[in-house]
Symmetry: C2
Subunit: 500 residues, 2 copies
């Protein structure tokens, strides 16, 4: 008879296989599937998800967890067996508390809401989406009540993406950040704007692709254990640490768009490729929180990819790749162009400074929807007011305003704050890294990323979900998450760029 | 409570979803998966297959089949409900008779045998493969005994691919065919050889791809419900009638190789795209037998793609696509080149006349392995003797002889004869089609394939597995399968080409 922990692993492994299979089907859907395949694919995915869910919420899982817990020694903090029991128990409790009737209703409602959202956005008609959003809010509150929470229902939803963090903690971090950030944004808005016209020109897709691939290969992204394809919205997905796939999209008139998206997704991909193989086919073989995942994307994208040392190495190479469009480009104007800050309407196009204000606005409104202080009908007006207050710009259409993001139509309340938490995490990690690797700027200027990747592998990647995000960050940096590091980084970098 | 037939459908649909998901994962494995993904993919596929198998062999399936059978009215021949019960019952009986321990042993043995075969072929060392083949023969006989058969164990294995046909029937057809075919091959071998040097030259892959796609789009292959990728071995796979994918491979020195492979796979693909949508997510939503599938591939490849009217239309277009390599090509020499017959060592490179002899040899030896009249150790010598007798050529290495095909290493005894059965079926269908569509040669010469595809859709494609291959052919052509139509076609075509 196998040891209880082995029995638990043997029970969980095929569930992870089914989830990985679903991820393959979703990847195919976004990258290669012909249009005709959509209906059958939805059914295949639904079957894979419900089969995995049924196996996971089975009483057998609970019994195996109990037996494994009994058999555990007093756990050391990084003991993978103890972590397996703890994390799986938490996932299991969440899963069994939500009645299967509610799971089915949510699945149906989100599917309808996404169709309605697509049409509402195309027609700039919020009223088409409103009743669906109301229904999703209602069902999400019901889900939160079923799961349980300490202070407010949003806690239960946030915990899906950020186990170990509370809404109040996020709100407090965001309050600090906002009060420090708004004056910076105001000052930048009054400074002379940066000219970023150098980024625009004619940049053939095939050359952009080759350049982007060479950059992330330099980072250490392993193309023998991954690949890059084109999709409408860039994403990263992993079927195992040895099969981690990125997507991007190309704008042939702009050299920066696909490159930074490629670097961003490679940050996610390096995390997944770095998870310890021993965690594969267990619930621990994944990023520990969305904020941790996002921190890796933002670290490579902003702290590395938008840094002066990086372009000292890569600008000559980029000019070789695009001699016609970039033959005259000089380092300093190019560095300024890729770091231009300007308040704008669309989150996904925002710079790294104003991005936080887009996120905060969504966090506040989303939290309000869930606690009942914001009604769906008031949402467009509340959105536009907040845009005016935070960014000084107001969308002329709801399509470019409250309807721009897919998240709420997916019922993903609790998701938005992870973007800013991830950015704060990245900055805090970078301070620790700079402390441990004083030669880092020189490494980067030589195109050498091995020491940085080793640090990330050692302190973060390998652990998968063995540690929750707060513990992981505290172990890696010696501190709890705060806004300090990011504000120091932003004041330093953008203060110099805008002579503040 | 749903009607029993609906309950049966609801039970079977997610099983079909799991099988479709496995097909997506296999497609990805052959076309896009990075090398690193192999180990995880094998586990994911194993989980999907065993999950689908467990659900199918569950007692619930048997109970639902009983209830549905009771509720059926006296069945009309094309009644899909009756066919569903009949075909699913047959699949179910086959599946439950094979003990799960034997399923597991066969799965393990084939996986080991395929590795051994790859190495044996690379090293031209049959002895490395021999013990694995012996084990597979042993387990396959055990499987045949478990399933049951009327005359000989090979019947039970053949029935996996050709329900409704017996080994004796196949042997009798092949005896007739061989005695008529060998003199034709001998006469061709004595005739002056055809010059096919026009096919060789410089043919860039991207232009080959564009031309092949335009041809099969003309046939009616729907790229909104399919796509074409590159893989080491061409194949066709379907995830639903609305997502049917082809693969091919390109030889930039030969214009014919990828084109006929593309046409061949499109024949398979048109069949899958033509199956009635109402059969989707049931065991009926598939080709009815491998021979029927192969008939569609061979019909488009040989009867259409290697015909004079076809090239009357397409040769000018091919010359436009490759003006440097083909500028001077004339219809008659080109038509002769693509129909060159020459005895050769490798089945997959054989012409449409000698191909049958490769198949017969494999059928006879495979049948002998299963009934014990051929021993594994004698196999290389038996192979070379038969090659000499049938084709007058003898391989100098086992790699180019008995080790050339993957099928036996997959335990797929019973598969080879379907190639020739399919070719005979194609010829018999073509006689019926020419009778119903006397204007067909003119249609083809105008690049109009609608009437032909309509005929195939009406008489074959739409029915999926509602009719077994013998019934389907009898309904479509009014006759049982025989060698007559193919021999008339071959004598007519190759008699003229070689002035016999």
């Amino acid at each position: 008879m196998p040891a209880p922990i082995e029995a638990l692993r043997a029970h969980l492994a095929p569930i992870e296989d089914l989830k990985a299979a679903a991820a393959v089907l979703r990847w195919d859907q976004e990258t290669h599937m012909p249009d005709g395949g959509a209906e059958a694919r939805a059914q295949q995915l639904s079957t894979l998800q419900s089969t995995a869910h049924e196996r996971f919420v089975a009483e057998e899982t609970g019994a195996l967890l109990d037996q494994a817990a009994e058999a555990l020694d007093a756990p050391a903090p990084l003991d993978p067996d103890a972590a397996l029991v703890r994390v799986t128990r938490r996932d299991y409790e969440r899963a069994v508390r939500v009645p299967s009737s509610l799971v089915a209703e949510l699945s149906k409602a989100t599917s309808q809401a996404q169709q309605a959202w697509t049409q509402a956005r195309q027609n700039d008609d919020f009223s088409r989406f409103a009743p669906h959003l109301e229904r999703l809010v209602e069902l999400s509150v019901e889900k939160a009540e079923a799961i349980g929470y300490e202070d407010e229902p949003y806690d239960a939803l946030l915990a899906e993406y950020e186990p170990g963090r509370t809404t109040a903690e996020v709100a407090s971090l965001f309050d600090t950040l906002r009060s420090d950030l708004v004056p910076i944004v105001d000052a930048i808005a009054e400074a002379p704007p940066i000219d970023d016209s150098v980024l625009r020109g004619s940049y053939p897709q095939s050359d952009q692709r080759a350049f982007g691939r060479s950059v992330i290969a330099d980072f250490g992204y392993d193309f023998d254990r991954g690949r890059q394809d084109v999709s409408a919205h860039p994403f990263t997905t992993a079927f195992s640490p040895d099969d981690v796939r990125l997507t991007t999209r190309y704008d042939e008139d702009n050299v920066a768009s696909a490159l930074f998206s490629t670097i961003h997704e490679a940050g996610h991909g390096l995390y997944e490729q770095g998870i310890a193989p021993s965690l594969d086919r267990t619930p621990l073989g994944d990023g520990t929180a969305l904020s941790t995942h996002e921190s890796q994307a933002r670290l490579w994208e902003n702290h590395i990819g938008r840094s002066r040392p990086f372009w000292r190495h890569y600008l000559p190479r980029l000019k070789d790749a695009f001699p016609d469009a970039l033959g005259d480009a000089a380092l300093e104007p190019f560095y300024r162009a890729i770091n231009r800050v300007t308040p704008s309407l669309i989150r996904v196009e925002a710079d790294e400074v104003t991005y936080h204000l887009h996120v905060m606005l969504r966090f506040e409104l989303g939290r309000g929807l869930i606690d009942g202080s914001v009604s769906v009908n008031d949402l467009p007006a509340r959105w536009n007011d907040a845009m005016d207050t935070y960014l000084g710009v107001v969308p002329e259409t709801d399509a470019n305003g409250v309807l721009q993001d897919v998240h709420w139509s997916q019922g993903a309340f609790g998701y938005f704050p992870t973007y800013t938490l991830g950015t704060l995490t990245a900055a805090q990690l970078m301070e620790a890294i700079q402390n441990d690797l004083p030669g880092l700027p020189e490494h980067i200027a030589e195109g050498r990323f091995g020491p940085l990747l080793d640090w990330l592998r050692t302190h973060l990647h390998q652990h998968g979900r063995v540690l929750d995000a707060p513990d992981l960050l505290e172990r890696a940096t010696g501190k709890a998450l705060s806004t300090g590091a990011w504000l120091r980084y932003a004041r330093d970098k953008f203060g110099a760029l805008y002579s503040l």
